[in-house]
Symmetry: C2
Subunit: 271 residues, 2 copies
């Protein structure tokens, strides 16, 4: 195993590095540090495969050996990253999970301004407005990866895409999908600067979602979990579509609506 | 307001009713009591609209008046149910939520044996195997309602459909969708006793999910969040279909896969 001698062993709960790592569980602290945590060998391997390495790799001293972990350690060492070891108990304190995976990494946050989005790079983009549930957010990233979307644009006050729950639910897509954060007042002019069809699921003056005239780049927008989209946002759409609702409820879970619509758009654009 | 004088006021944390109510947050206790909690006026109103009333209605003493709440109180009183009032603090202790909705109800669990399922009542049924996330489970119930499914069949060790999180995520569909729990060894013979097409999303010898020959009653099966379906279950399917996966990941969130497939089956059966 490469570089074992250079690993730093951390033993005390009051160590400043532990304090820093624990701080990353808190949204304010994450924003301040502009860093986030990703847990588990699978997620870290996903990141490495797209060329992203953690600045800091944190492992339990007692861990199962794994060739992918060895590769990861070597890559982080070669890139000048820091490698820490600590007891499983201490790692649990860091991740806040009872049964933490034996490895996690600290990553620099990505650029989440709209300016970092190049709409020409993908036929589909997902847009979520005031999405509050980090699990939904991560699931939308994961779905975006599956449908070949370029990324997820978060409008207004959304959950934090760099929270442990969102990162986990993304199943690695946090590293492959672009993420942008913007207010509507900023997003709408940006969208209208170039080609782009804004589509929302709506009950207002809408046409059936199947066979609707979707066009790339297609921006699929879903609204807040309990309030849906503001009327003004729906009215600004180029296309409003409706999905069958056979039961008593009048809406779908936001991530579900985005996925059903996303697969429909993909089928149309691929046809 | 009807029946205000008959409300029982509970003031002490050690009251046995409080102990009973708090116990319903625990899976073992729920199984023992065969009761579950549903929180919020909206959910309770959904239940009432399909003819289901709580055995016990629990309200905060300080609550906003609402005509639907008045109707609910009257209906519970008329059906011989119990009506309790307590402080908001105490209600928080019951629901375990920081900001509880000001009303909740205790319901008797439904019959969740396969025998209670009449497959002729709906063209689509959702089936989940070893689904561990209660939010996913509730979301599947909600999606089932939307696509006109008859219900959700839970195979092997799944999350508890009567947990607060599943009930909440179902957005009322826990009261409109049938729920059954069974082992595979019990489900497969039951399925083969009558008409029924078993369909799974799979990478094995599968055909494209769009335009596949779906037939009612169609049983759409999704697997465990991290392991997917056991091979034997996939091989027992009448139809294996595959969804495009354009990115790096090789699977979708279980509730997402069920929904995308569910809407496709609905479109085919409705055509």
């Amino acid at each position: 195993m490469t570089g074992s001698n250079s690993h730093r062993l951390i033993t005390g709960f009051s160590n400043p590095t532990i304090k820093f790592l624990r701080g990353l569980r808190d949204k304010k602290q994450r924003r301040l540090e502009r860093r986030f945590l990703a847990e588990g060998l699978r997620l870290l391997t996903d990141a490495r495969e797209v060329g992203l390495l953690p600045e800091m790799l944190v492992m339990a001293t007692q861990r199962d050996p794994h060739p992918l972990l060895d590769e990861l350690i070597a890559a982080v060492a070669a890139s000048g990253g820091e490698i820490l070891e600590m007891s499983g108990d201490l790692l649990t304190k860091v991740t806040g999970k009872d049964n933490p995976q034996a490895v996690c990494g600290v990553f620099a946050e990505f650029d989440t301004t709209l300016g970092a989005i190049d709409r020409r790079t993908a036929p589909i983009w997902l847009v979520a407005q005031a999405l509050r549930d980090p699990g939904n957010l991560g699931t939308m990233l994961r779905t975006g990866d599956a449908i070949g979307a370029g990324g997820l644009i978060l409008l207004d006050d959304c959950a934090d895409p760099f929270s442990a729950e969102a990162v986990r639910a993304s199943m690695g897509a946090i590293f492959t999908q672009r993420v942008a954060r913007a207010r509507w007042e900023e997003f709408e002019p940006w969208l209208r600067q170039g080609a782009g069809q804004l589509v929302a699921a709506s009950l207002r003056d809408a046409q059936p979602y199947r066979g609707a005239p979707y066009q790339a780049p297609c921006f699929i927008m879903v609204g807040n979990e309990s309030r849906g989209l503001p009327e003004a946002y729906e009215l600004a759409c180029d296309l409003r579509v409706t999905m069958p609702m056979k039961g008593r409820a009048d809406s779908l879970n936001a991530a579900i609506a985005g996925a059903v619509l996303g697969y429909e758009v993909l089928a149309k654009l691929d046809a």
